[in-house]
């Protein structure tokens, strides 16, 4: 059984690889990143040798690997057929032999190997002496086994949920902390470290409670063995092994249940409101209501808003945490924030997907098309304007220069108008199908349209940057004017300018869309939601 399921997993990987050029590229990239994690993990862990906080840092890294195993299978649920018990529920298989097979399937592949090789960096960074080395190897094997068992238990016990709409929502929501963590590790911490704000010693004691978690037990067992405390080391390893056995027992039980409850629905709850809000305000209000509801109920919309906020913070991170002060970077954050709001809305037909047909059948005149695009702008604008304003003020406070708050807000409001205008025009002239692929909660450009995504980002950011130039110049030339006059004048004029740009976008998009509705419908039909 183990051999068969390992073969099945390898076959699934190979078939995915052959399915398209995009899948092939994705596989090559994934394998490359696994290689980077193996080599990088080994290298980073080996660097801890001799550091006062080496065991603390090792515990943090072991815990992060475990967290990765906990979360990533939730994304890969639809991608790896061996993760879903429903795929094998039809066959007459005994639970125990199936469990052994599924465990072996989990251990097969580039990422488990990368995990094992990367963590073996502790043999250089933390272990010393023959006993330390032996315990390090055993601890790493147990850590990997713990990760695999934990991942299996989570996906099996959550299988019903993950198969449902709510499970897909959960995966989308999980994208938010993962994205924030990636930005933190890739941008914020390196900037802080470059400024001397964070050193290796800063991590001393961070494992105060982590040391009692299974990854901490593994790391501290290596430390104990290397320090000449074999009894404590063995006790920690025994405790870790006991945790793995307990998890495996829970998993086998969960698997047994999942095999006979594979296809039940997760149910759903009733919504509170009954009426479509704003519906009494004509077509514009009706469309605004639909988009407003989607901003609240669709996880991907929430993810887009969080990504916009995180990117705005990241742009200013070097000045907030680094040694150099560039207060005007807050304005750059405003441009990026406005540009991203436009980019994330810049292909609304592809994002809406097949339901756009319902709207297209009713959009019978240029006037109705104007109302349609204006309604979208209202829904996005009422969220984006206060959000960009609040972040601009927050960032100005974080860079300790509140004088930048007003010009940044003015730029954000003008930029938002430009972004919405561009988004509507791009939606009509540059529409492309968007698809949801297994393994990713985010919607992506359909195969062959990857360059449209890149072009959309570039066009929106460049367009917003050009459009806000007059506002930046106005802010610069009025720097010496009394703040009580300058601030409201700058913000009101910029908001009016932004509204004019958005209005122009609505007019142009409506005129273009009138002749292109059948083509837009085909783009919508090719999309998946």
């Amino acid at each position: 059984m183990a051999r068969l399921l390992v073969q099945l997993k390898l076959r699934l990987v190979l078939n995915a690889l052959r399915s398209s050029a995009a899948a092939e590229t994705s596989f090559i990239l994934s394998t490359f990143f696994a290689f980077v994690v193996a080599v990088g993990g080994f290298y980073v862990l080996s660097l801890f040798r001799g550091l006062s906080a080496s065991v603390d840092l090792t515990t943090v890294i072991f815990t992060m690997f475990a967290l990765g195993w906990l979360v990533l299978p939730i994304f890969a649920f639809g991608l790896d057929g061996t993760l879903d018990p429903a795929t094998v529920a039809l066959y007459p298989l005994r639970t125990r032999s199936l469990a052994a097979g599924l465990l072996a399937a989990s251990a097969a592949g580039a990422w488990p190997a990368a995990n094992l090789i990367g963590l073996l960096g502790v043999t250089v960074g933390l272990a010393s002496g023959a006993l330390g080395l032996v315990v390090a190897i055993v601890a790493v094997v147990l850590q990997v086994l713990f990760c695999i068992t934990l991942a299996r238990l989570v996906t099996t016990s959550m299988a019903r949920l993950l198969r449902s709409r709510r499970g897909k929502d959960l995966a989308a929501f999980l994208f938010i902390p993962i994205f924030a963590l990636i930005e933190l590790l890739g941008q914020v911490i390196p900037n802080a470290a470059a400024g001397g704000g964070i050193t290796a010693a800063s991590f001393a004691g961070v494992d105060a409670w982590m040391r009692w978690l299974p990854p901490g037990l593994a790391a501290h067992a290596i430390q104990d063995a290397s320090d000449g405390h074999p009894g404590t080391a063995l006790a920690r390893l025994a405790l870790l092994a006991a945790v793995i056995v307990a998890l495996a027992w829970l998993w086998v039980r969960s698997l047994g249940r999942a095999l006979v409850t594979a296809d039940t629905s997760s149910g759903s709850s009733q919504l509170r409101g009954t009426a479509l809000p704003l519906a009494r305000y004509g077509l514009r209000g009706t469309v605004a209501a639909r988009f407003w509801i989607y901003q609240r109920r669709e996880p991907i919309s929430l993810v887009y808003w969080v990504m916009t906020a995180v990117f705005m913070v990241v742009v200013s991170a070097s000045t907030i945490l680094g040694p150099h002060q560039h207060p005007a970077v807050v304005i750059a954050s405003a441009v990026v924030g406005a540009g991203l709001v436009g980019y994330f809305r810049g292909n609304s037909v592809g994002l809406t997907g097949p339901p756009f047909i319902i709207e297209a059948l009713a959009l019978t005149s240029r006037r109705s098309l104007r109302a349609y695009f204006a309604g979208q702008d209202i829904a996005i604008g009422v969220i984006a304007a206060p959000l960009l304003t609040a972040i601009s003020f927050g960032l100005a406070a974080a860079v300790r220069n509140l004088n930048q708050a007003v010009p940044a807000t003015a730029v954000a409001l003008a930029g938002l108008g430009a972004a919405l205008g561009l988004a509507n025009i791009l939606t009509v002239t540059f529409a492309y199908p968007m698809v949801t692929r297994a393994g990713s909660p985010m919607r992506q450009a359909a195969q062959g349209y990857g360059s449209h995504t890149f072009g959309g980002v570039l066009a929106t950011l460049a367009g917003v940057a050009v459009a806000v130039t007059p506002v930046i110049l106005a802010a610069a030339f009025t720097g010496t004017a009394p703040a009580a006059i300058r601030a409201p004048a700058l913000i009101v004029c910029s908001a009016a300018y932004g509204l004019a740009l958005a209005w122009a976008g609505v007019q142009i998009a409506a005129r273009q869309a009138q002749d292109r509705l059948p083509e837009l419908c085909q783009t919508a039909i090719q999309s998946t939601v």
């Binding site: 479509l276 639909r290 339901p355 319902i358």
Partner: protein
């Protein structure tokens, strides 16, 4: 108003080198409940998409109640309702919100849209689930919601693409009764289906499409020609069964 609700002349569409619709001529009288049947890939969905203004034809003309779909799309769209092959609904709206949204898109006043939505939900047996997200609906519930969206503005011509596929018998019966009632008031229905028994049972007009062409059209009696519609269909389209000699092991109790 013309007696013809649907008049199609020389409709053609190719995708690359494949000719999906190869010159279709079709006439459906007002008040008919007409069926468009054909094997998979015959061109049913492509034809219906072109008839409803969703796919631009390479050539040909579609006139609905005297309105040329491709000369004046807004006017034609205003009088039709469409239920596509796959339920294309806003998953994050509740059933009630979905129908109300469809009504408002069709310029119904807010109160009227809400009232009609409630009535349709009741007739379609969806009232108990009206506040649930469409994303959590079953296939049959989606089809019924889609039908409600297509009917809420009281169109004079209704197009349905495989309306009963994946629908349970009770929901199918609800849809069937609603369509019969709809045409009883003088409106016209054209729907595509694989289910010959259903077409034979409720349609007064049948067209058979194969390889992008209409191979037979007329009243159900004329097309049947004294046989069952299923048999008439097979005779016209040709049997597609393959030899089964290679399955000698099938049916034995041993593996």
């Amino acid at each position: 108003m013309s007696d013809l609700a649907i008049a199609v002349r020389g409709l053609r569409k190719s995708f690359g080198t494949k000719e999906a619709v190869a010159g279709i001529d079709l006439e459906i009288a007002a008040g008919s409940l007409a069926g468009l049947v054909g094997p998979n890939g015959a061109g049913k969905t492509t034809t219906l998409s072109m008839m409803t203004g969703l796919l631009r034809p390479d050539s040909g003309r579609v006139v609905l109640n005297g309105l040329d779909v491709w000369a004046d799309p807004p006017a034609a769209k205003a009088v039709i309702g469409v239920v596509p092959d796959q339920a294309r609904l806003f998953e994050r709206l509740s059933g009630q919100e979905m129908l109300e949204y469809a009504g408002r898109l069709r310029s119904l006043p807010a109160a009227e849209a809400r009232a009609r939505a409630a009535q349709l939900l009741d007739v379609l047996d969806l009232t108990a689930d009206a506040r649930r997200l469409v994303a959590d609906y079953s296939t049959g519930m989606r089809k019924k919601t889609m039908l409600g969206c297509a009917l809420i503005h009281n169109p004079s011509v209704l197009f349905l693409d495989e309306p009963l596929e994946g629908v349970d018998p009770i929901s199918a019966d609800v849809i069937r009764r609603l369509l019969t009632r709809f045409t009883g008031s003088g409106s016209t229905v054209l729907f595509s289906s694989h289910v010959m028994e259903l077409v034979e049972q409720i349609c007064d007009h049948v067209s058979i499409i194969d390889k992008g062409k209409i191979v037979a059209t007329g009243t159900t009696q004329e097309v049947r020609g004294g046989k069952t519609l299923q048999q008439a269909f097979i005779d016209l389209v040709g049997p597609r069964a393959r030899g089964e000699e290679g399955l000698s092991w099938l049916g034995s109790s041993s593996s």
